[in-house]
């Protein structure tokens, strides 16, 4: 059996093809050997800080919705409904309370976390055995007066917490794996030292840019750098924050709600008594409920769906069988 001789053109092409393939393979191998795996073989790594995951294994109940006119009573009832503080704070734990102190505006105007709620949360954490409670936020402008005018600073100190006013070297770069915006971005790392539990504590507010400012938007205050660039793509950013920051618990205070002209408000007329406080382990669910206090739907906040799709929680809060309680005045 004899094969027909290869025509010379064909043979030339095959030879050339083999050589080209060899050249390609050599290129690929060289690239591999030269460290395109890390891509930064020749550079000093930017050491990103891995934000610890503070979330707890899912266990019901995960969400408590308390209605009542008094926020401290509401908080107490909500925590009882969730199984008590002991479920979340173990004796000896360091607890970080991330409040919203973004503006130097009096507590009555509802632009910041209410100092009564801060004091109550601090006291309850300490009672549950926390070794220390740190209260922090990173308002961009004039931090000291933000804590002072909002009353949060005084409330935190009085209740026995440490107030952490961020300094320049408290920030370390963080990267959300797979994230688009949060890459090597400065993040408020300082107050996390020795912390085992992270609790978000924030009021319900309208927000001109992102639709609503709830517990997820609250993490924005942990960012440093020129974070205002993110206003261009705020929903992606909030969704990424939801993946980056996994709290133990979030407390959303809708006792009064800033229903319009947020996030600064300014007028008592911007506030409405909605007499509700939500506590939960799933910030997406908490926010999905919280936005209804503003008379809006979860679908009005694109970041909720994106955060849920990325696995940061569920926007269908009813599926979590929230515990609903009526609390009277204290």
């Amino acid at each position: 059996m004899s094969r027909p001789p290869l025509d010379p053109e064909r043979r030339e092409f095959l030879a050339r093809g083999l050589k080209a393939a060899a050249a390609l393979a050599a290129t690929g191998l060289a690239g591999h050997a030269l460290g395109w795996r890390t891509g930064r073989a020749d550079r000093e790594e930017v050491h990103d800080w891995p934000v610890p995951d503070f979330s707890q294994p899912a266990a019901d109940p995960r969400l408590a919705i308390v209605t009542g006119p008094d926020r401290t009573t509401n908080l107490r009832k909500a925590m009882e409904a969730l199984g008590g503080w002991a479920r979340f704070v173990k004796p000896g734990d360091g607890v970080l309370l991330k409040v919203n102190a973004a503006f130097a505006s009096p507590a009555t105007l509802g632009a910041t976390t209410h100092p009564d709620l801060v004091a109550e949360a601090v006291a309850q954490c300490l009672r549950a055995g926390a070794s220390r409670v740190v209260v922090t936020d990173h308002p961009i402008h004039d931090q000291a007066s933000c804590f002072e005018w909002s009353g949060i600073g005084a409330a935190a100190r009085r209740a026995g917490a440490e107030l952490w006013v961020p300094r320049e070297d408290d920030f370390a770069p963080v990267t959300l794996p797979g994230g688009r915006l949060l890459r090597h971005w400065p993040f408020l790392k300082g107050p996390f030292k020795g912390i085992r539990r992270l609790i978000g504590l924030t009021p319900v507010k309208d927000h001109y840019r992102s639709g609503a400012s709830l517990t997820l938007k609250n993490w924005y205050g942990l960012l440093g750098g020129r974070r205002s660039v993110f206003h261009q793509d705020i929903h992606t950013l909030i969704a990424e924050l939801a993946q980056l920051v996994r709290p133990t618990l979030v407390i959303l205070d809708g006792t009064t709600t800033m229903i319009r002209n947020g996030p600064t408000g300014g007028s008592l007329a911007d506030l409405k008594a909605t007499d509700t406080l939500v506590v939960g382990t799933d910030p997406v669910a908490v926010d999905a409920f919280g936005v209804t206090l503003l008379g809006r739907e979860a679908s009005d906040l694109p970041h909720l769906a994106r955060a849920a799709a990325a696995g940061a929680g569920t926007a269908s809060y009813e599926l979590l069988n929230p515990v609903r309680i009526q609390a009277g005045a204290s």
């Binding site: 053109e9 030339e12 092409f13 050339r16 093809g17 050589k19 080209a20 050249a23 390609l24 290129t27 690929g28 060289a30 690239g31 030269l34 460290g35 395109w36 891509g39 930064r40 073989a41 020749d42 550079r43 000093e44 930017v46 050491h47 320049e168 070297d169 370390a172 770069p173 020129r226 205002s228 660039v229 261009q232």
Partner: protein, 598 residues
């Protein structure tokens, strides 16, 4: 759709993209500022850069993986980059076309004809790569000779020198656009910068650029054909290209219309020189008999896959390349003006990476980075050095933009923490570019007893690296005999020009033992001086005693432990020609041996 039109669209697209990247390389968040535009992309696509850096350092800087993609495509397709992507090539082609558009076909044929000198670019390539590879020899020699203490000094001496950037078209064009065209275009309109943007040596860079463009009027794509080492590298890489331009049958009417349209001068009518072909595809449509195609098969009239280089020529080029760096370094010495951007590696390493592309100079917000003329020696010609007297401020404390933008890691990316030396870098301390020295022969308070504390005020380091020595100095010719005096005022006979306007910080003292502490003068008239009423004389000065006019001077002194060499002081010093406080490279943190303190 004609493939040549697609090519033109592609060329214009990449040219505009390139210019856009140059335009937006200013720190900022608006869409027309840096944001996240991949402004280094063209530099990163460049296999010549990648190869040069790999040869010199043994590693591939982040981002340059893109060049592997271009290599792969070139291996398969041939020199597509030259004809379809290269923005410099597009300019050459456009100008060449302008120059020849009215020429007769015979003239076209002549001007676009192949010339043997086209091989020069391959020799240049060999020379440049050999120069970059110098460092690789030292370890090999060391291994042969056994490890010895001298190895380090050999390595240091022979380390590679990356000179590809001088001729590599992408760096060439970045340099010209960044340092010449944009600053020129921005004069008068001030869109990119608030004031006039300067570039040392712009005449040379701009002149070379202009020459490279104008020579196309004589021979189209002159640069691509004779000079471009990147094109030469593509020619070598595309040797086994699967697809290639060629004729379908050996014989044709030999009208040479294909060669009259050829951009690469690759002789498609005869034995095509595939390594010269830039895939312009003009011949496909020029052939009246439709005999030319882009096909898998070789040209029916034969082809020359490799450039006709002589072995002797190649060896000579390589040897010259290996020799050039050590020869340049024999001179030795360290120029005090060789102040590198913050984050720059040790000089030897820096020179194995720096492309002279000018991206760092382009992004520097204060315009202090300039291409070196003589500051960095012959070898470092065109590399970035800080010229604090040229910019509009020193190196800003909270800016590390140049380090982040450098495409090859010649300037290592710094975080602000690392640059300032805080956080995790507190132990290591700040990045120092050099040290400031006060020239006491020119400094106003030192040399001329005139008050000035501009440098101290502007020093951004905390605590300040410039401290102040306060001293009272008598003003010459300002001793006056007192005619009368009370606790607060001294009166003199006659009028003089004693109302010296040198300072608001004038003091007076009575010569001799009388109440020796100087008093501040609040009003210095021609015939009377009034002193600060909070510190009256203890008793009225006696008539006939002599009053001395003093000036309170604050003389700057640099603390070398704190100074980071940022040059803010130099840039604000009021002496415009030669500053009275100047930064030199002494004490720069990138060189272990540059320190001068114990």
């Amino acid at each position: 759709m004609k493939i040549t039109w697609v090519r033109r669209i592609s060329q214009v697209f990449f040219l505009l993209l390139f210019l856009w990247f140059c335009l937006v390389t200013t720190v900022g968040e608006e869409w027309w500022r840096l944001r996240g535009w991949p402004v280094n992309w063209f530099l990163q696509l460049n296999p010549l850069t990648a190869l040069g850096v790999v040869l010199g350092t043994g590693s591939l800087p982040a981002g340059l993986e893109w060049s592997l993609l271009v290599i792969a495509l070139t291996v398969i397709l041939g020199r597509f980059f030259c004809g379809w992507v290269c923005p410099f090539g597009t300019l050459h082609q456009a100008i060449g076309w302008l120059g020849l558009r009215r020429a007769a076909p015979a003239e076209q044929c002549l001007r676009r004809a192949f010339r043997p000198a086209q091989r020069i670019k391959y020799y240049l390539l060999a020379f440049l790569l050999a120069a970059a590879a110098g460092g690789l020899l030292a370890p090999a020699v060391g291994r042969l000779a056994g490890q010895s203490a001298r190895l380090e000094s050999i390595r240091e001496f022979a380390a590679g020198s990356l000179q590809t950037g001088w001729l590599d078209p992408i760096s060439f064009m970045h340099r010209a656009v960044n340092l010449v065209i944009l600053p020129l275009a921005d004069r008068g309109i001030h869109v990119l910068w608030t004031g006039a943007r300067l570039a040392q040596g712009a005449a040379l860079i701009g002149g070379l650029f202009l020459a490279a463009l104008l020579v196309n009027l004589w021979i189209p794509r002159f640069y691509c054909r004779y000079v471009c080492p990147l094109g030469a590298l593509y020619g070598v890489l595309g040797r086994f290209a699967l697809w290639r331009v060629g004729k379908r049958q050996r014989d044709c009417s030999n009208c040479l219309k294909c060669e009259a349209a050829c951009e690469g001068a690759c002789q498609p009518a005869g034995r095509i020189r595939t390594h010269e072909c830039v895939l312009c595809m003009n011949c496909l449509h020029a052939c009246p008999d439709d005999l030319v195609g882009y096909r898998l098969a070789r040209s029916a009239s034969g082809e020359r896959a490799a450039p006709d280089l002589t072995r002797r020529g190649v060896i000579a080029s390589l040897l010259a390349g290996f020799a050039v760096a050590p020869l340049g370094r024999l001179a030795g010495g360290r120029d005090p003006r060789r102040i590198r951007p913050p984050g720059a590696g040790p000089e030897r390493e820096f020179l194995t990476r720096c492309l002279r592309c000018g991206q760092c100079m382009r992004i520097c917000p204060t315009n202090i980075l300039h291409p070196a003329l003589t500051e960095a020696g012959l070898e470092g010609f065109g590399t970035p050095v800080a010229k604090f007297s040229l910019g509009i401020g020193g190196c800003q404390l909270r800016c590390a933009a140049c380090s982040q933008i450098c495409p090859t890691g010649a300037i290592r990316p710094l975080t602000l923490n690392e640059k300032i030396g805080r956080g995790a870098f507190r132990e290591r301390g700040p990045v120092r570019m050099g040290t400031a020295f006060v020239d006491r022969g020119r400094c106003l308070p030192w040399a001329m007893n005139r008050p000035c504390i501009v440098c101290e005020e502007n020093c951004p380091v905390s605590p300040k690296a410039i401290s102040i020595q306060e001293i009272f100095e008598p003003l010459p010719g300002r001793r006056r005999e007192i005619a009368r005096g009370d606790e607060l005022t001294l009166f003199f006979e006659g009028e003089t020009d004693a109302a010296a306007r040198v300072s608001d910080d004038l003091y007076c003292r009575i010569a001799g033992d009388f109440d020796a502490e100087p008093r501040r003068i609040i009003e210095c008239g021609p015939a009377q001086w009034s002193i600060d009423p909070n510190h009256p004389w203890e008793s009225p000065p006696p008539k006939g005693s002599v009053a001395e006019l003093l000036v309170l001077l604050q003389r700057p002194v640099v603390d070398p432990e704190r100074c980071i060499g940022c040059g803010v002081c130099e840039s604000v010093c009021p002496l415009a020609t030669v500053r009275a406080i100047r930064v030199t490279a002494d004490g720069e943190s990138r060189e272990a041996r540059s320190g001068f303190l114990l």
